[in-house]
């Protein structure tokens, strides 16, 4: 387990999905805001163009990294992304981005992805934070806002003996706290917008406050037009490019719970 130590302010992000432009913008923004540590919660690849650029970014910047299911798959050269989709159409599109990412990630970068730790821990203002990709117990477990009840959060925090669980994997950021301040912060993804019809992407800033850990979700603008052009240039499906241009998800939708699905366009 990756133990990062104690901080007053940290930035957490997940789901780069090959969006190397959003990665650069996010890390610059986090530094500007005074984050003492920047932590990536997994899934470097998928969806976007030029996979090597994102991994190069992750490796050259002073950030810490946790392994996501995509990183495990690409690292080991597995047959699919292990995202946990159950619908044939979802799997069709997921396979296109996975095959592209696997074919275009260098052997050296794959080795780095393979070696990433799957869990981590840090402290913010003395409170313990578990770092993971899906959930603390399973790398590809989806923790959505509408399907992660308080009783389950209490159960997970007890099992992990932590105050806060920080995760990603769903691509939509949300937070739920129990009355005593323990809780889950899903940091969302910087690789694509959270199915809200806007083009900005999001990460999380945790800061020590008078009442424990305070979380703030931060919106990041980046050069989405350039990303869309590069995706088209790489021959990636127009459905993926549409998401970058419009902010609405077009694929991998069946995994969304009803309430999250109802907020989207497709």
């Amino acid at each position: 387990m990756l133990d990062l130590g104690s901080f007053d302010k940290v930035a957490l992000f997940g789901g780069v999905y090959n969006n190397w432009l959003a990665l650069e913008a996010t890390v610059a923004d986090a530094r500007r805001r005074g984050a003492q540590a920047v932590v990536f919660l997994g899934d470097a690849g998928g969806f976007g163009p030029h996979p090597n650029r994102s991994v190069e970014g992750l490796r050259s910047l002073p950030i810490h990294a946790i392994q996501g299911n995509y990183d495990d798959s690409v690292g080991q050269g597995l047959e699919d992304c292990q995202c946990g989709y159950t619908d044939p159409r979802d799997n069709h599109f997921a396979q296109i981005s996975y095959d592209y990412t696997l074919a275009n990630t260098s052997a050296e970068h794959r080795e780095w992805l393979r070696g990433l730790p799957v869990r981590g821990e840090l402290k913010v203002g003395g409170k313990r934070v578990r770092l993971c990709h899906g959930s603390p117990r399973r790398v590809n477990e989806f923790l959505w806002e509408s399907t992660t009840p308080a009783g389950f959060i209490d159960h997970l925090c007890r099992e992990e003996d932590v105050d806060l669980i920080a995760c990603t994997h769903t691509g939509i950021h949300w937070e739920r706290r129990l009355a005593d301040g323990r809780g889950v912060v899903n940091v969302g993804a910087i690789g694509r917008p959270p199915n809200d019809g806007k083009r900005t992407v999001w990460y999380s800033l945790l800061e020590a406050g008078p009442n424990g850990i305070e979380n703030r979700f931060v919106a990041v603008d980046y050069d989405w037009e350039r990303l869309a052009r590069e995706m088209t240039g790489e021959g990636l499906p127009p459905e993926f490019v549409e998401t970058i241009r419009t902010g609405w998800w077009t694929t991998c939708l069946e995994i969304l719970p009803g309430r999250e699905r109802a907020r989207g366009h497709h």
């Binding site: 009840p149 009803g258 309430r259 109802a262």
Partner: protein, 274 residues
């Protein structure tokens, strides 16, 4: 324990489908309705064990006279899914479900079973007039803003086309059609419709040695409560040998997975999470 299945109406159903693996029907009360109190007790017990979702099944859950009270109790604790044939969803019930879909603390999934995109295809399995009633239920749910899912059984070698169902749902006013394919289990009435399981159709030890064995099988992460006790899954409730106890506390040990239905669950990675 992640998932609590409540057999809220037991084996009582308003229809008697030819592929029903637990042979539910209007007079079938092998498993009786659960009282509201029994449902709440099971929910509290499950939540204390880390449960993260509750599913209502039967039979037909909307036959239960206190279904909205039971639903509210569940939604106060966890996200809820309801498996229904949709036939009993009138305007008032659709409105009540729409309110809960929008405003409850957690997600509400309403999963409507439909086994054909036409009356002819559906009613050969589910009974005369069912298609029409289910279609109206779907129309009302959509009008009430419920993001429903249609569950389609794969009845024959040739599965119906997804686009047929998507087209039907759009016609009924569903803005973002969601469909889910469900395998058949060769038990109950289904054993007589096509064929029963052969005794050799069981899981091999190598299957169970896999790393993801626990989360692939429904019994790896859930339990089913009926009026008759606790079972590993909603599929095996008519198999007395698989009863695990009379309350959840007695039923948390590993469940036997040597029934042929366990192999279907494994092969299809049968999970009622979306």
């Amino acid at each position: 324990m992640d998932t609590l299945w409540l057999q809220v109406t037991g084996t009582l159903c308003n229809i008697a489908c030819k592929h029903c693996f637990i042979s539910c029907g209007p007079k079938v009360d092998r498993h009786k309705m659960l009282t509201r109190e029994a449902c709440v007790a099971a929910m509290d017990d499950a939540v204390a064990r880390g449960c993260r979702e509750i599913w209502f099944t039967g039979g037909e859950p909307f036959l239960h006279p206190e279904i909205l009270d039971v639903l509210d109790a569940a939604l106060a604790r966890a996200p809820v899914g309801i498996l229904t044939n949709g036939m009993l969803i009138d305007e008032d019930l659709a409105t009540a479900l729409g309110e809960r879909f929008r405003d409850a603390p957690y997600n509400l999934e309403v999963r409507v079973s439909l086994d054909g995109a036409t009356a002819e295809a559906n009613d050969r399995i589910r009974g005369k007039g069912v298609f029409e009633a289910t279609r109206e239920g779907i129309r009302r749910l959509a009008a009430a803003g419920v993001e429903l899912i249609v569950a389609i059984s794969v009845l024959d070698d040739n599965a119906p086309e997804r686009e047929e169902f998507v087209g039907l749902l759009r016609e009924l006013g569903v803005p973002r059609p969601r469909v889910k394919w469900i395998p058949v289990f060769r038990m109950g009435r289904e054993a007589g419709r096509q064929r029963a399981y052969e005794p050799w159709e069981v899981l091999a030890a190598e299957d169970l040695a896999a790393e993801d064995a626990a989360v692939r099988l429904m019994c790896g992460t859930g339990r089913t409560v009926t009026s008759e006790g606790v079972f590993p899954c909603p599929i095996l409730i008519n198999e007395p040998a698989y009863k695990l106890g009379s309350a959840l506390g007695e039923a948390m040990g590993a469940a036997p997975v040597d029934h042929p239905a366990c192999a279907t669950c494994w092969q299809e990675s049968f999970s009622c999470s979306t």
